[in-house]
Symmetry: C2
Subunit: 217 residues, 2 copies
Amino acid sequence: MSRTIPVVEKITRANDQIAAMNRKRLDENGLFALNLMASPGAGKTSLIERSVPLLSERFRIGVIEGDIATTLDADRAEAAGAASVQINAASCHLDAPMVRQGLDALDLETLDLIIVENVGNLVCPAGWELGTHRQVLVASVPEGDDKPYKYPSMYRGVDALVINKIDLLPYLTFDMERFREGVEALNEGVLTFPLSCQTGEGLEAWIEWIAEETGKR
Amino acid sequence: MSRTIPVVEKITRANDQIAAMNRKRLDENGLFALNLMASPGAGKTSLIERSVPLLSERFRIGVIEGDIATTLDADRAEAAGAASVQINAASCHLDAPMVRQGLDALDLETLDLIIVENVGNLVCPAGWELGTHRQVLVASVPEGDDKPYKYPSMYRGVDALVINKIDLLPYLTFDMERFREGVEALNEGVLTFPLSCQTGEGLEAWIEWIAEETGKR
């Protein structure tokens, strides 16, 4: 299948150019943007549901939802109090043109913070720049402590790592030391936020980090 | 990006031809082959570890592991008693040529059953025929009851659905009725095997199904 590579490279280059345009547009509007990536079911939408109410006193929030089917996630983000737009991705990842569509659909002048929820996938989103300022991986402990070893490109490329569902730790054979060693080997010193969207434990540090980054713009 | 579609279609057609060759080869050797697909961390490897010892008295088993990095899963399958081969996928899914490589590396005449463990991904593997006789999705309850609604192509295309980690149900807000309704709407009457690789609950029906299918060859 080597004959596909030139096409893919051309698309990736075009993608990166549009990502740079997205970034410029965000910066010109004084916006801070996060790209949330994760396996299906790690809790990206739950994290957005939890975070929006805690941030919305200080910031006006827009959410761009990348979903293959349904508007379930966009509806949940909207219910939590964010301006929300649904991109029906029909793809295994978001790309910069899709995010541009999302930005077109939001009233950027009325916002401070944009959260992009990528398609649930621990492989493909890693290769696609969107123009967001920070890339965040939401891991969840039921996925197992071997995931950094098995999906290195995703763990390597992110600025922050949320470790979700820590309320389930007592019922799992999850070795946090092994997990953290795998993460550190790939991404030394990466910010980590162990938390539970179920109980709310650990959310505060995560919220403070976003608030600080958003406040700088 | 519509310009990529002709290339992708050509590759898919070539893939399907090789899948047909894989199937023929399996049939000629009297082998039954399963394609296990799932999100990262749903428990594909744990299911193989649990299943191999329970099946190996009756059948000789080969495992083809599709991993992006490491031989962790192949090592676990080998330790459980299967002949095992690792395909370093460098891709978000397995395709038929990769499975052909795996078949080349196994001594097919000495085997009865082949289990192919796909790359952990709830999107991309759905589009790629491998030549296996049955396609199985391993869902896990911590992923949430909305997954059939959000990843319909994967749920639509499978012959059987394992619902793993049911030992965690008491600690989750997982609505089994909602989940099953979503599954039924996409894939009416699909075989389902709720089970726990942790406690062993529910494994028997799953093992009996594989044994029955393998025995028919």
